[in-house]
Amino acid sequence: MATVTFDKASRVFPGAERPAVDKLDLDIRDGEFLVLVGPSGCGKSTSLRMLAGLEDVNSGAIRIGDRDVTRVPPKDRDIAMVFQNYALYPHMTVADNMGFALKIAGDSKDEIRRRVADAARLLDLEPYLDRKPKALSGGQRQRVAMGRAIVREPQVFLMDEPLSNLDAKLRVSTRTQIASLQRRLGVTTVYVTHDQVEAMTMGDRVAVLKDGLLQQVDTPLNLYDHPVNAFVAGFIGSPAMNLMSVPVDSGGARIGDYTLPIPRELLARASGNRITVGIRPEAFDLSQREGIPATVDVVEELGADAFVYSSADFDGTHVSLISRHAARTPPGKGSQIRLTVDPAKTHVFDEQTGARLSS
């Protein structure tokens, strides 16, 4: 097991205008489950492949533990790419299925036996080592396949969108299984996904990338509560945070005839006379007297709570809002509502740079 360090690591594809990964600085802790997430083209897969040795690193360095692996061939990096394409061989026993790759690597019989036994213990496969894969359940077979990666005792597991071809329901149950297996093994793991829910539910920490640049790396909760910029604020969370560009006056943000109070020192940090205000759906409250005036378009009753999709028109702009409310008493479709916000739950971003202004 080991730490993983990206040290200003960059990858520029021939003929590309900007780097696919731009001076990535990232310290992954020993045993950590780190998820790389971002929209298509953000550089998450390229980063993983740089660590795997599949993509050249044009500048900077990558270290596993204290060892600089920037120019080391993939098979000598002590990593395991855990894809879903491990084959199981029907004529071979479970033990041989797990251990045969060590034979090619030239490990001794005793060493192979020890590693297979260790892996079997971790995977609850000890009673089955002499059986053939056909005699196992689906879950046991899958663990044998995982065992092929585990017996190599890699320092790092790499996973590149392993769940992308499963349907939504299977994705949910499988991600829990992978995360709990990783915690049990305690092997440093780097996991790539485009799905922010997957990232938030699986990662000890999540690194959000966009256009080849690392935006923020933090625990799921901190990403949710303290996004460093408007991009991360909008990317993390489902339904997404409401983001509005609004003008400011001395009292705060002016949203139509409603003034959302914002501390003066925050407004002073803004680079223009507009700011981007971010409000999570659950931060809204309904009010009779004040708040953002809006018309309800759709109500989604989910049982425990309800999502209200509404639209607001002010200063000649049209804004779609999503708010979460207690179930069973939401406003009806077509009704006029006013939405207020606790200023403490308001996120404030610079309208031009997108950087977070609130603490």
């Binding site: 599949l54 491990y86 084959a87 029907p90 004529h91 790759a101 090619i104 899958q142 044998v144 392993p162």
Partner: protein
């Protein structure tokens, strides 16, 4: 919901298949054989108008991706199965959505590696399979294709005049790049090594591998074989300016390996005394292209080499070496090659391809001549071959599975299989 079809236009009869039924429940009378092999998805084989197609159920994004990749590989001339189309928007009669299918054409006269040993896989056969796979991997890499899952199971083999020609079957994990990094190539080689070792060890464990084959040594040799071929095709060499004959020598070496040199990078040093050359673009198919130009025959590389030799011998025997090559070739085709191929009775034509039959007739002629101590004529050798050899061979036109019953879970010869992630539960 209407079906959405993305297809090459030549196969309209595909529309008649029962797309509203999940592949797993397709009626047996539609199927050629139940599937075998490593695929992570449901695959079925169907016969339509005398052609066999492989149909694979897979999520739309992956179907699109693999279809494009196979099309791109076809355009760049790399041997791969031919993608026919995608059928999306499938729905059961009750309105439940079904995954799209990717349709590929079954490669005629191709063999899965497990069908290539009727009794046991002997060292020379295993070696030729690995050689064919290494040539395929090098050609894919030259075309910028990263395979991600190179194995004997993901490959089909065609007989090629005593050797084999390999075709890529499964492009699911593949990626096409402008050029591969050394890391991508190294990963594919290492992955091939592990997969081949696993596949041969599995055969050994099932008693299906000759005891003289050591799976681990065999697989370990894959890297060395790959590097030798890659080095010959792409490596640079330097020499003095007055040794320019070495350029011709390099071209000849490439030709012998079956490659043509399309572009050569030549750099002289500052003083102009030494030269460094490096092939930039090499094209496979040196002999098959030449044979195609001379005779119109489209065959595998070693078959072409063999046929070109036969053509040279014909020119010598008929004292026409100085004559126009194309005229002699036409004569040879109509007087030697075609009579042999036409003499194969209709009921034996599904056993081997014409060019392979011709090759085997020549082999048989050599064998008979040696045994009898006299020169056996082509006609006599042909008749003996058809009667004593070909008639007893299995049909290889559309071999889908391995050996033994395909639909039985307890079959004597189960194949390696893949486990999807979602089975992690339980």
């Amino acid at each position: 919901m209407p079906l959405r079809i993305l297809a090459a236009p030549q196969d309209p009869q595909l529309l008649d298949l029962p797309w509203e039924v999940p592949l797993e429940a397709w009626p047996a009378d539609r199927l050629v054989a139940l599937p075998r092999g490593l695929s992570r998805h449901v695959v079925r084989f169907v016969r339509l108008d005398g052609r066999v197609y492989a149909v694979k159920e897979v999520v739309e994004r992956l179907a699109q991706r693999e279809y494009r990749l196979l099309r791109d590989l076809e355009r760049s001339g790399v041997p791969a199965v031919e993608a026919v189309g995608i059928i999306a928007g499938r729905e059961s009669p009750a309105g439940a959505p079904l995954d799209p299918v990717l349709i590929t054409r079954h490669l005629q006269f191709s063999l899965p590696y497990r069908a290539l040993f009727s009794q046991t896989l002997r060292p020379d056969t295993a070696g030729r399979l690995v050689d064919a796979l290494v040539v395929l991997l090098v050609r894919l890499h030259l075309a910028g294709f990263f395979w991600g899952d190179c194995s004997l199971s993901n490959t089909l083999f065609r007989r090629d005049a005593g050797a084999f020609a390999a075709y890529l079957v499964d492009a699911e994990t593949g990626e096409l790049h402008d050029e591969l990094s050394p890391g991508q190539r190294a990963y594919d080689i290492d992955n091939a090594r592990t997969n081949i070792a696993g596949e041969l060890l599995d055969l050994a464990a099932g008693g299906l591998l000759d005891e003289h084959v050591d799976p681990v040594d065999f697989a370990a040799d894959v890297g060395a074989r790959y590097e030798r071929l890659w080095g010959e095709l792409t490596g640079s060499e330097s020499f003095e300016l007055d040794e320019r004959w070495r350029i011709a020598q390099r071209v000849e070496r490439l030709n012998r390996l079956g490659f043509d040199l399309a572009e050569l990078d030549i750099v002289t040093d500052v003083g102009g005394r030494s030269v460094r050359i490096q092939p930039k673009v090499v094209d496979a198919g040196h002999h098959s292209r030449r044979l195609l130009r001379l005779t119109g025959l489209d065959v595998e590389e070693n078959q072409a080499r063999r046929l070109l030799n036969a053509l040279d011998q014909y020119a010598a025997a008929t004292d026409q070496q100085g004559e126009d090559e194309e005229i002699v070739a036409h004569q040879w085709l109509t007087r030697v090659f075609e009579p042999v191929v036409r003499s194969v009775p209709a009921d034996l034509r599904g056993k081997l391809e014409p060019a392979e039959v011709f090759h085997e007739v020549l082999e048989h002629r050599w064998y008979l001549s040696e045994r009898s101590g006299r020169d056996i004529g082509l006609k006599e050798a042909r008749d003996a071959y058809l009667r004593d050899e070909l008639a007893h061979r299995p049909d290889e036109q559309a071999v889908i599975g391995g050996v033994g019953p395909a639909d039985d879970d307890e079959a004597a010869d189960p194949e390696p299989f893949r486990i999807p992630w979602d089975q992690l539960r339980g």
